[in-house]
């Protein structure tokens, strides 16, 4: 009986330890930027997981850096140790698609360290998908349209030149 009780107590302690360990990762499921912005008070100072494309430039500030992550709705700034982002190769702009990354960190509605910014202080970063250089096939339809427009412009100029020439001739006569 005593052994049974001891076992049960051990299990309870283990359960509590487990709960204690997973508590910070209560929002382990990825949360969208819309959800974060609409319920910022609920997520304030909690550990969250956010996912999206790294866009723009990496703004290095000493040992830390700012990266901006866009999940197709909003872009949120992430404050991260520079050593954690050394594997990021592409950041999104016109010519490139940025790396898709997963960020786990503390969400702040009004970050006291960063002048009230709505941001995430990252503890972990994982690259989900590498970015790439974007393809831009030449738009033949547009080029054909340019040719038509050039023809119209030159015809117009020709008509005006002839019109002015005839006008001047009439005046002379």
């Amino acid at each position: 009986m005593i052994t049974l009780l001891q076992n049960f107590r051990k299990k309870i302690i283990l359960l509590f330890l487990l709960l204690f360990c997973i508590y910070p990762f209560i929002y382990a499921q990825t949360i969208s930027s819309t959800e974060l912005l609409n319920n910022a008070t609920d997520y304030d100072n909690k550990v969250i997981t956010y996912e999206g494309e790294v866009i723009g430039d990496i703004l290095k500030r000493g040992n830390y850096s700012w990266i901006n992550i866009d999940d197709n709705n909003f872009t949120i700034g992430v404050w991260v140790e520079t050593s954690l982002i050394k594997d990021i190769t592409f950041t999104g702009n016109y010519k490139t698609e940025g790396d898709q990354i997963e960020v786990r960190g503390i969400f702040h509605k009004n970050c006291s360290q960063h002048g009230g910014d709505l941001d995430i202080h990252a503890n972990e970063i994982r690259i989900i998908k590498k970015g790439r250089i974007r393809d831009f096939p030449l738009q033949i339809g547009k080029i054909k349209f340019i040719v038509i427009l050039i023809i119209i412009l030159f015809s117009q100029i020709m008509i005006l030149v002839i019109k002015n020439f005839l006008k001047a001739r009439l005046k002379k006569q």
Partner: protein
């Protein structure tokens, strides 16, 4: 009896309109060159198409409406009103071709927002927009801030007495120099000097805050153009929040304030008359207005204890406030945060600030501080009249570059404009309410559009009704041109229909 406009009227209007359109085509060469330098082929193609369409239209108008007559006031006003509409339709072409806009209406909205220096945006996936297209969004703000017709006046309509009529039509009541073409050139020179200085400072700050050189230069130029012209577009979707930089915010605050000052005052200060800034009715009113309305906004922010720290209070509260008062529309918070975090009182403070704006003959929209100052002076004068004996003779003065005797016509004209602006603000709010938006948010967004500010509390979205998009376009257009030229155009159309 209303007289029907004659063919000759249409020819005069068409001719001057054509010259402005050609001017617009010429400035389209700048993003085209940028696209070629940066190897952005498809954007370059978009600009070639836009440029050709613009030239076809401009040359066609000038060529087929050739006439030697000088324009009258009516012609000047109509040319201005139409120039802005043409600029919107033509300036929207490269934006639409970029593929980053849901419809041509959305790109027209963006173009009008740019030219009118508003800053409300309907762009999609801005973070992947090409440098050339992105530059065009900012550049049209720079052109619009100085005035589309002023641009044409400077280069294409020189020596014409009609120039003055168009200058006035573009909501500029004061000449810096006796000749209006020289005035237009001075406005450009002052702006270009500030552009070089301001962009350099922003580039240095950008480098210091971790931007690579190419980005620092691009962002520096773009942000300067939209800050000085109190526009509010930004190269990235997060607006100024993208930089996460206190210094960038400080510099932009200074540029926004410079943009909100009268060009005539800039010229006075640059030519040595530095005391003018402390005496001028506009700067004095702006100073007091900033203090008083910020107190209201601060109380509003304190109500729900937003931004408890001094730094965050400054970077979020004061920054949005100055951005609103100068009519810029830069933001360091998300538009949704206005609704979720800011109290009603704080939002009312921002709405009042937006509705007043900056100085006349500056790049700001809205009522403008000189009118507010004049109305207060008029109120003071009326109280004096009641208190003093009826036989007492007195006159009041106000200082604007020189001492001017305050007359009833000044007060009347200022009051009329205030009423017209209030009407415009409430008209947009009413339309938004018809679509189910709450009153305060509708008024916020409408004031932002009509006062050419650009701050949004979340109504301006790609998904908003087309009627509301058109309403905001009209508000931006009418608000930027300060009614007269647009009303003249409406009168002209009415005369064409009903006249004999």
């Amino acid at each position: 009896m209303v007289l029907k406009p004659q063919i000759i009227d249409l020819k005069i209007i068409g001719n001057y309109l054509g010259r402005t359109v050609i001017g617009l085509g010429m400035v389209m060469c700048i993003p085209l060159i940028l696209a070629l330098i940066l190897g952005e082929i498809n954007p370059a193609i978009d600009f070639v198409i836009s440029l050709l369409i613009t030239f076809i239209l401009g040359i066609g108008l000038v060529g087929f409406c050739s006439i030697d007559r000088e324009p009258r006031w009516m012609h000047g006003m109509i040319v201005v009103a139409l120039s802005w509409l043409f600029a919107m339709f033509l300036g929207a072409i490269p934006l639409f071709l970029s593929g980053h806009y849901g419809s041509y209406l959305d790109s027209c909205f963006e173009a009008m927002s740019g030219f009118a220096t508003t800053g409300l945006t309907l762009v999609q996936d801005l973070n992947h927009l090409s440098y050339a297209h992105n530059f065009w969004r900012h550049f049209i703000m720079f052109i619009g801030g100085q005035g589309i017709v002023i641009m044409a006046l400077s280069f294409l309509i020189s020596g014409s007495s009609g120039a003055f009529k168009m200058y006035i039509g573009e909501a500029r009541e004061e000449k810096i120099l006796p000749n209006v073409v020289s005035t237009a050139k001075v406005i450009w020179i002052v702006s270009l000097v500030y552009l070089i200085l301001g962009s350099s400072i922003l580039t240095i700050v950008g480098l210091f805050e971790g931007l690579p050189l190419k980005s620092a230069i691009f962002h520096g130029i773009c942000i300067f153009m939209t800050a000085f012209d109190t526009g509010g577009f930004s190269p990235q979707s997060q607006n100024i929040l993208y930089y996460h930089s206190f210094y960038y915010e400080i510099v932009t605050i200074m540029i926004m304030l410079l943009g909100a000052i009268n060009f005539k005052l800039h010229y006075a200060i640059l030519t040595g008359n530095r005391r003018e800034i402390f005496k001028n009715i506009e700067t004095v009113t702006l100073f007091f207005s900033i203090i008083l309305i910020f107190i209201i906004t601060s109380f509003g922010l304190k109500l729900n204890n937003q931004y408890p720290q001094v730094v965050s209070f400054f970077r979020k509260g004061f920054y949005q406030f100055i951005s609103a008062h100068t009519g810029t529309g830069f933001a360091t918070i998300y538009s949704e945060q206005f609704r979720s975090d800011w109290s009603t009182l704080a939002l009312v403070g921002i709405i009042i600030a937006m509705s007043i704006g900056g100085s006349s003959c500056s790049t700001t929209g809205a009522i403008k501080t000189i009118r507010v100052g004049l109305i207060f002076k008029g109120l003071k004068q009326n109280i004096k009249r009641i208190i003093l004996p009826e036989s007492a003779v007195f006159s009041d003065k106000f200082h604007h570059i020189k001492d001017i005797i305050l007359e009833d016509k000044h007060i009347l004209s200022a009051t009329l404009m205030v009423f017209l602006y209030f009407g415009l603000y409430f008209f947009g709010a009413l339309v938004a309410m018809l679509f189910g938006y709450p009153f305060l948010e509708s008024l916020f967004e409408s004031t932002s559009a009509a006062a050419n500010v650009g701050l949004s509390c979340g109504i301006t979205k790609v998904t908003m009704p087309a009627v509301l998009k058109i309403t905001y376009i009209l508000q931006m257009w009418i608000g930027r041109l300060e009614f007269t030229s647009v009303f003249t155009l409406f009168g002209f159309i009415l005369a064409a229909i009903k006249g004999k």
